[in-house]
Amino acid sequence: MKNKNILITLLCTLGLTFFSGCKKYLEVHSDTQKQVSNSFKTIEDLRATTAFLYATPWNKFNDYARTITEGRANNVYVDGVTGTISALALFAENSNFNELFQTWGSLYVAVTQADYIINDYVPLSITNGVDATRAKGCEGEARFIRGYSYWYLAMLWHDVPIIDDPRQYVLNTLVPPNSFEDVLQYAINDLTIAAQTLPATDSKGRVTKYSAEAMLARVLLTGADYAMGGRFSSDYLKRNGAGSNAEMAQKYFDLAKQSCLDVINLSSYRMLDNYEDIWKVQTNNNAEVLFGYQFLPGAADYGLGNVLNNLSFNGDVTGNLTGGSNVFISYDLLRLLVQDGAQSRLRGNVFIPGQNYAYLGTQLAAGSFTVPSNSKTKCNIKKFVVGSNKDTDGAAVAGNSGLVSPALRMSEVYLMYAEAIMGTGTQTSDATALENFNKVRKRAFYLNPTAYQPYTLVTRNDLLLERRKELFYEMTYWPDLVRRSFYDMDWTLNFLNNKLKDSDPTTNFTNYASYSYTYDPPRFPNTAGWDNSPRVQAGYISQQVVHNLPAGSYVHAIGSKSNIWALPYPAAEINSDPNLNGAPVPYKF
């Protein structure tokens, strides 16, 4: 019995000692993730948060947004009409298309991740003693990303909610969209601040002051077009010190011109000699790229890869990393590229039968890839296809080409400069405008320079066509059409409905959506490569896109019969925020 008492006393003592440690017991800290409250004491933490903005948020966007923009603009054609690309091309999309949700969601991931940096992390770092200029530089990066994202949101959905701080909407998700002009203004503000705070140079892959100026030019030109259509509200004009839309347009053209000039004259960005070289892993972040999605070469991590190797002609090109794709260039665009005669640009954009690519298919017995003739009727996209693991020095793996997707290029800056100079006119023969415009054209003829002829006069249509060819599959042609519609809706409608074919003798603006064709130069040498009988597929008819709602209407296009060049909001988003369907509201600046 004595033992028993000793034991019990012992246990009680043990128990008491232990109870005193209770409070400590429940104190647990994460071993795997930094917590905001004890971070941002050095510039490295802040730079790490901005480094994140370059890859992951663009993982889905890089794929799905291309489907939307290039499909919608009839730049691509898809065999097997069950896919979503043909529905987009025929204005028959549905709000439950995953492309819509992924694109919308990706842009808002970028916006909100930038929000946290701008609202919290930069001020916190400065408070913690981090060098203010460098911290502000990081804010510039975040603002660049946010401005870039809002431009796409505005071009695709027109009116969208401006999310300053996502935490405000945690308990109230019924948010109406903000009006298009305010989204534009918001992007302009972000990019203007970014251009002021970003450094002139930074390590490879990070955006600079000039990236911001180039992107700002894009947004300013959009604003100028909107003003040319007389669409800005009086509030907007007043806020921006313009007496009229015309004045606003000129102001924006001037600002855009200045931005482009800064980039052209002051930065070290320049075009590569050969158009094809831009889309090689070996030239990732080359001198032409002002901003690119920084996918990781050789990485298999989810969310860090570039899937676009899947556009490949066949498995030989990629060493079977992917098979052959069913996505082809459209009849209309291929004809433009072929007629143009710029060999470098044609090869850089499209796999043409008979062409040899010395740097693709190096793993093959032949040591290179020659596009076979008599194998397919339509032409696969070459741009973004980087080849096999061997071709890319190990960068390309299954599901990831390792290519940094160029998202803002120097050649666009030259074209924007010409556009800004043309301004509200319909053509220009201004010498510097021509110089910059021709610079882009000349480069496209790198492989056949003798065929190159400089333009002595550039029209609005020339600019649009040049952008379509130069920036194929780079998600700009659909926004270009939307921009055009701001001030010339009739032209846009006629183009989309393929009504321009008779009135335009050069047939440069045909729009045979989902038009089947065969282009195979070795096979049809006598008809310039074309099969004699291009045909519309049975069941397809020319489009009947209409736009019959009054200006200012906020109804978003669902199918072909309604208004404004805006995509339907994703069904999932409408479900969680029915107010998106309501009238857009002004943003309080």
């Binding site: 949700f101 990070r206 793996v397």
Partner: protein, 1066 residues
Amino acid sequence: MRMTKIFTKIPISILILLSSLSVAAQDITVSGRVTDKAGGALPGVSVSQLSTSKGVTTNQDGVYKISVPPGAILKFSSLGFVAQLITVNNKKVIDVKLIADVKNLDEVVVQVGYSTMRKSDLTGAVSSIGSDVFANSVVTTLDQALQGRIAGLQSTMNSGVPGGGSSVQIRGVNSINSTNEPIYVIDGVIISGQTGNNDVNPLASINSNDIASVEVLKDASATAIYGSQGANGVVLITMKKGKNAKPVLSFNARYGLEKLPKLINMMNLSEYAQHHNDFSDVLGYGRRADFSFPQYLGEGTNWQKELFKTAPMQSYDLSVRGGNKESTYSVSGGYLNQDAIVLGANYKRFVFRVNMDNEIQPWAKIGATVNVTQDKQSTAISTFGAVGNALFQSPAVPIRNADGSFAGPTSDLDANTLGFSNPVALAMLNTRTRERFDTRGNLYLQLLPAKGISFRTEVNVDANTDNYLQFLPAYQFGASIKANTENKHDKTYNFYLGWKNILNIDKSFGTNHRTSLMLGQEMISRRGDYLTGSRQYGSNVLTGLDAGDANYATNNGSGYNSRLMSFFGRATYNYKERYLFTGTMRWDGSSNFARGHQWGAFPSAAIAWRLSEEPFFKSLKGSISNAKLRLSYGIVGNSNVAAFAYDSNLSNIRTNSQGTGLQTANISNPNLTWETTKSWNAGMDLTILNNRVELVFDSYIKKTDDLLLRLSLPAFTGTSDIPGSAQAPWYNIGALQNKGFEFTVNTRNITRDNFSWKTTAIFTYNRNMVTRMNTATASIPMYDTSNGKNIITSTSAGSAVSQFYGYQMIGRINSAADFLKDNGNGTSTVITPTFKYKTGTIINNNDATLITSTYIGDLLFADVNHDGIVNERDITNIGSPFPSFTFGLTNSFSYKNFDFSFFFNGSIGGKVFNILRSRTDDPRSLSNVREIVTNYARLGYKDGNSANTNIWNVYVLPGADPSLGRMSVQNTNNSIFSDSYVEDASYLRLQNVSLGYKFPTRLLEKMFIKSVRVYTNLQNVITFSKYSGYDPEVGSLNGQNMLTYGVDGGRIPSSRFYTFGLDMNF
């Protein structure tokens, strides 16, 4: 009981005197053998002389020897048997057969959490099942045995793969984002029923042959003692222990065969080729050259038959249990090897268990248990892809080429766009194995310092590792190509450490007042980490990670760490066996919340009134032996949120040459705290007709408040599932309730010497309702991305959680009059809205765009909000996965040495959202489709001229299936998710039939065998259901998430299972 009273009243000295006197008279030695009804020896039976303290117990052979006066009366008694009184009358040999008793309530002891209680003292809702249930049903994991056998408990298989996961709910869905699984308490270790994976079952580490009994705690009075962990109910599992008897060696062997109970009627090659040609014609493509003569193509490959097979199962168990007065032990080992019905899938398990209890002093006991499990689950094809692979694959792809190599699809379109491959080949090449090792143990010291007082301190440990290996070699089957091998290994390590100290005091005051008090303290720490690595470009035969190319390596890791500290107590009071009271209290502190929000208090109280013990009830006692009314109320909690959800975290992401990037990982909520469930329970226990009928009835209301909800926010908050998203915050928002009733009826219909018939029926009724959400219009949508991004379920205030969501199909346009009114001038007015046309729109009858927008043969959907157009705002609730009620019915018979039982279970009123049909029933699909798609809506022309596409000239030809649309060039939403895919999932299933035979004991005794039973068992024998898919029992689409419950995305169905078994005892 009465005996005890007499004893206490007669002074002990007199008793001793009396007994010694009687010894002095001429005692005789009586001996004999005590057996059960079947003649099996009964050891440990107490044989005592009535009215004396003299007594012995029978030995392991049931033999006893006692000296008593010739006229003495002997009492033979043993727990679970009806006691017998026999007058010696000078007989020297008295053999006795004891009849099994319906357990006397006063003697049955049940587990109630941290201590035990007499069943008669229970005030809460507790259900038990004994080991006999496990003996009669062949189950791989315990949860399968609970289905249909515990009132109020619903168990659904999430995957038909052996060792695969299931969802178990006790009294409905309590939580929306947090887990709904009960906790399982095994050997004192608290195991969460939660797994994030359909293939993982937390109960896989338990060998059902080791289970002595299972108690399910349902109401708050019973579960509140587990406080924050008891919100979803508690399942207490008592394992078999050794006993004070000669060692018994048991051996069990089983062999079984499993097969797919049903095939879905897909098109054969000839039909598929015809279908393919029809669609090619519509699209204007040329037909496939090899499909020129569909009628001669024959059956082609039936991928269902190739991928599903009859699979064998074998299992062996060996155990020894025994001991003496001071020490008892139990040692057991088991081996199970079960193939799945899916090609290339298998499950193997070893379980080893040792248990020991020692009395080191009369006042001190010490004991320990160790349970070790090793299991290996192999699934060559991913389990979520198996059914899709079997259904959608083209029957035109053969398994093998003429040269014996694996065949594959022939075109890029088939291989890359439609995803055809050769799943049979993949099942042979791919390796996906999950190997787990789990060690669970406890060590305790129990002190008994005085009568009625015990103190127990116990340490519990559960450590497990999970090794997942995925090896996908390179291949080329026709156009289906995988260029590089992938080696991926995941390792998970989990560690549970618990320490608890419990003081129990039982005290009676006088004869009328019995009280008990339990005070306890417990600390639980759970931590673990996860490591994953993968490489590519390795060898095509070596599965190891190091065989891959290090230049293509990825690696990642994560960890968790959570702690719980608790203080708890329970007090009971029993007045005259009539009025019973139980009160419990538990305080829990959880590290998942920020300081200041960590502690929660969870009280409960219950009263019961045993009418049958009242004096006024005496006259009824003959027919009603027990009647008890119970009433309880209590509060339980839930702290299952992501760790550190209260703080803002930054996760680590690789970047392109910028070092490690930081991503804002979540939106924080520092005020996060406990979710609480208040519940009321009213119940009744009734035993009538001479113990032949036992009824347990319970009804309850549970209200969950401050619901822990991971908010579902619009994607514009950056909280979607898109890469780079922050996680939405957790909030204590919203409320939901469950109401219901349940009952169990046990009857002994016939109890003769050599024939008996027993029946158990259970019935469960539950209604779930979300009463409040974060905003009035808030809803939690769940998506499926197999066919666009579609909402499949939605949870919002005013209805039960997880309502199926989609359009309402209202018919089909069989002729223009179904949606148009002819204006007589070549135009028509839209009278029924469609996806493209608003009511009132004027259309041109000859408009060629009609064929790409809305045309004859398109399905019509309801304009729910009456805005004149059908669009995503018309998506609405289209059915509930939850059944109106479920039931189970077991009948057991025994005749001489035979035993026979059959068990039905059923579920009535639930629905299944068969989203697989949006592909298998789509006339526009180029993948294989169901045979009924042959009857899609074909178009006819009134004037016989198919070029006349005037909408009034076109009609749907008779004979079309009413749920199918036309074969259009463009998608016109005929396969959009709608109520036409919602099917009645009511079913009645003959779940189990078993027949056994016990060899007569006499035959065996010479061979030193105590007993032998052989049996055969059929599981999932027949299902009566209108469901068109494989199996109407559809669990959750992903993991155990109750928000995707009842959505059939192609889960592997439960198999039909034939087993033969042998049980031997030595």
